[in-house]
Symmetry: C2
Amino acid sequence: MATFKTRAQHVADDLRERILSGEFKGGSQLRQDALARDYDVSRIPVREALLTLESEGLVEFHAHRGAFTTELSVAAVRELFDLRVLIETHALRYAIPNLTASDLDQAEAILDQYDAALDSGSQIGNWGDYNFAFHHALYAPSGLPETLAIIGQLNTKAGRYIRMQLLYTRKIEKAEREHRELLKLARQGDVAKACQLLETHIKEAAGSVVAVLENSLNSA
Amino acid sequence: MATFKTRAQHVADDLRERILSGEFKGGSQLRQDALARDYDVSRIPVREALLTLESEGLVEFHAHRGAFTTELSVAAVRELFDLRVLIETHALRYAIPNLTASDLDQAEAILDQYDAALDSGSQIGNWGDYNFAFHHALYAPSGLPETLAIIGQLNTKAGRYIRMQLLYTRKIEKAEREHRELLKLARQGDVAKACQLLETHIKEAAGSVVAVLENSLNSA
DNA sequence: ATTTTGCATATTGTATACAGCACACAATTG
DNA sequence: CAATTGTGTGCTGTATACAATATGCAAAAT
């Protein structure tokens, strides 16, 4: 496959990472010229990258005024996480009957890998990526590509909030335990319980993000 | 607000219409140069338009090979319409308690407007737009912008299939009756029945699209 | 003092020009 | 003859250059 990556895609990938990491506050203007210098490219691939990020909901364009990072809001968190519950349980329901041993092992491997990284004292860094990789591994066997795409979208949009949570709370261990439990239920093929757990898993995450966010917005 | 429209946006809007209308078969290559001449602009806004359409799922980019319209598939129809049921009933559930008299009147006005256009013997043309406008009017009071955005996405993706259905079947009258009925249930505030009807409404549409599509793919 | 009008400037949006990759077909080698 | 490697062409991807718009500030008018 060797899928070639254009400069625009490189810029998009890196810039997405920077936005999710919180380098830019909500509502910051992203000047095309500055970014172009940053990445040592012309403004054209930068514009294309910004368009991509716009479609992902991380950035908004205003004609002749440029691109701004989208604002964070409590309402958006609530909505995004509600949608995650709705759609991810849907995907999980379809996926569980199709899960092969290899699928389950792969999902477990992701958890182990992350545990190892965590024990070695390294920084959380891209926990969000591990988190999504695990969830994705569970849903993928559903054989529903459009659904997976939307789940991916929701997770990139929610990514900024998830990072916030991890930065300001210490819920990772709890999430990890729930992941293990979720995997166990999936292994047993218990659709109802697995979906139930997934629902509370996501809703609790939403709760702590809202707490963090309300705090940070009040103090601002 | 007077939102300025860039050339890229104009091209995107028109091209989307052309793709949805079926002017391009699935998998057709969209040559940037030709489109640029078509719209009398340079290739840059064309590229940006194509990127927008890619994010909407109507087009796919392959590096250095260009943009192609996405392929149609029965599996995609099933999935997209299932998602519509899941998410649109969710939105409707939240919207109904918030519906004001003015909201309901507005929705009804859309139906009347369409009936008038239909009686005057004009072509179906943009029935898809009316259809979406009506659904959107019902969901908007849910106050869930992210959810509405996803519903919009699903509808543009499904748009190609919906047009197909209308072109090859005579189900519009039936759909219109169901719309009236849906509006009535919404007025009564009967969430359960309204969601039930919406579900069968969408599922039946899916069924007839699948029938059309299987036919057309077999004969190809 | 407050509002309004005009200009200056910075930044975006687009056209034009060029570089680079992919595919097809010819040439070459075993 | 088959497989493989060169080479040319057409298109995409990107840089550079230019046009057009929004914003801020200063000057003028009420």
